[in-house]
């Protein structure tokens, strides 16, 4: 009886790529682990281990770091082979500011684009204007101001940066602590102090006001960079992350299948030390890693992005 009205209502309002759809998708990843993969076979292992999504890459950050040179968007055939292999969402990275790489990735129907400091930046002043895209974007941030600038440009998900490809979690700890601590500080301020806060954070006043009122980011906040063990993942979750990216940590370890599944368990039950302890057993070698303090400043990826 109401069929005709239904059709008219539906067709006139069907809406793709809205902020709600972009941010809502990130909400569905909360509590989960997203894994870097460089082959369809690794993507299969990630899906079988309980990853909520995979990041399709040509090289994991540890190899980008070791091999040097310019790191760009991954080979399109590789990304497509990974999309074909798994049914969980597939993300892919574009260089900071490289809006054409992003346009290309959107034609491949990737589920999320990571505008990532792990690749060589294409623009040392501007990030991509992310609003015109239907595909949602995730961006890295080391502090609240950077996170809000990215959200202002249209990012629908934020990840604290950490120092990718090191297996050293200390930068990830610093960045997630910085962001959550700055949010708490804003929430404690009186209204008339927020104008100066916006100036200091170099972020739009409206977003600063929203954070002060709600006490949280308007988008999901994941953490990344140097996560190598289930304990690392659980610690970052306890520090307030909504979920975890694991880059080199899984497939640069001795037993990727076991480690991937263990990091998933520890992320789910991050607040239960007994579960995390059992997840830590029998994993073989963790990735060897590099101490961030041994990295000369120009080689630190987390300093890319502005």
């Amino acid at each position: 009886m109401n069929d005709i009205t239904t059709i008219e209502n539906s067709s006139s309002t069907e809406n793709f790529g809205s902020s709600r759809v972009k941010r809502g998708f990130a909400d569905m990843l909360k509590g989960g682990v997203i894994m870097d993969v460089v082959t369809a076979k690794q993507a299969r292992i990630a899906e079988d281990s309980g990853a909520v999504a995979v990041m399709a890459l040509e090289r994991v950050p540890a190899d980008i770091r070791a091999q040097g040179g310019v790191a760009r968007m991954s080979d399109l055939d590789l990304i497509e082979s990974i999309i074909a292999e798994v049914s969980i969402p597939v993300m892919a990275k574009t260089r900071i500011g490289h809006f054409v790489e992003a346009q290309i990735l959107q034609t491949l129907k990737v589920d999320y684009i990571d505008e990532s400091e792990v690749l060589s930046p294409a623009d040392y002043a501007n990030h991509i204007d992310k609003w015109p895209f239907t595909v949602p974007f995730i961006c890295g941030a080391t502090n609240l101001g950077e996170a809000l600038r990215r959200i202002n440009e249209g990012a629908a998900m934020i990840r604290s940066k950490g120092e990718a490809g090191t297996g050293d979690v200390s930068e990830a700890t610093k960045h997630i602590r910085t962001i959550t601590s700055e949010i708490r500080a804003l929430a404690a301020k009186s209204h008339d102090e927020l104008y100066v806060s916006a100036k200091e954070l170099q972020a739009p006043y409206e977003l600063v006001l929203e954070i002060a009122r709600t006490g949280k980011l308007p988008v999901v906040l994941f953490t990344a960079g140097g996560v190598a063990t289930p304990a690392d993942a659980a610690m970052l979750m306890q520090l307030g992350a909504d979920g975890v990216f694991v880059g080199s940590g899984v497939f640069k370890s001795g037993n990727p299948e076991a480690r991937a599944a263990a990091i998933v368990k520890a992320t789910t039950f991050y607040d239960d030390p007994f579960v995390v302890a059992s997840a830590c057993r029998g994993l073989g070698e963790a990735m060897v890693g590099i101490n961030v303090s041994d990295l000369p400043a120009p080689h630190r990826l987390s300093e890319r992005g502005w």
């Binding site: 109401n2 209502n9 309002t13 069907e14 793709f16 709600r20 998708f25 969402p89 239907t134």
Partner: protein, 177 residues
């Protein structure tokens, strides 16, 4: 959302927590991961027993998949809890580019159309005799169903602040108490 409707809402991740609730919402997320973790951590069997015993359960998106007796396009080895005599196709619309919002007429919860958000959403492809479809897309595909104490939607009412579906579910839970 449940709290705003006066419910005492709490997270259920363990079998002992399941025993404390009078109704359960299985939220969105990645259904293959929810399935895997619910089995690893021993929640799947107690959930199946509770559903058989009549526990009111509302599944949104991945939760709808978990409640379906039959899942199409599942990953290898993926299982569901079952309870709803339906076939659900996982990720039926395509990639995130195909995620959308739209208005749906859902007479069961009120005359005003409901704004619904579909995110890599499933659809119900086949329903058994005991299942009532509650909402369809313009093309006729079923996106909300009810059977006994089980309720499922392919979309996410919690993302728009429209409380009617959750109220509908809570009314059921309270009537059981």
């Amino acid at each position: 959302m449940l709290k705003s409707l006066g419910a005492d809402a709490r997270a259920v991740r363990r079998p002992e927590e399941l025993a404390l609730v009078g109704g359960l919402v299985i939220p969105g997320g990645e259904s293959s991961v929810i399935d895997k973790l619910s089995r690893i951590f021993g929640l799947a069997e107690p959930l199946k027993s509770a559903i058989r015993a009549g526990l009111p359960v509302y599944g949104t998106c991945a939760g709808l998949i978990m409640l379906a007796d039959r899942v199409l396009d599942a990953i290898a080895g993926q299982q569901s809890l079952g309870g709803l005599d339906i076939s659900v196709r996982r990720n039926a619309f395509g990639s995130q580019l195909d995620s959308f919002e739209t208005n749906l007429d859902i007479p069961a919860v009120g005359v005003t159309p409901m704004h619904a958000v579909f995110i890599r959403a499933p659809v119900v492809e086949q329903i058994g005799a005991g299942v009532t479809p509650l909402a369809t897309l313009a093309d006729g595909r079923v996106v909300a169903v009810e059977q006994g104490n089980l309720l499922g939607t392919a979309f996410h009412p919690e993302m728009t602040g429209d409380t009617r579906f959750h109220q509908y579910f809570l009314d059921r839970v309270r009537s059981m108490a």
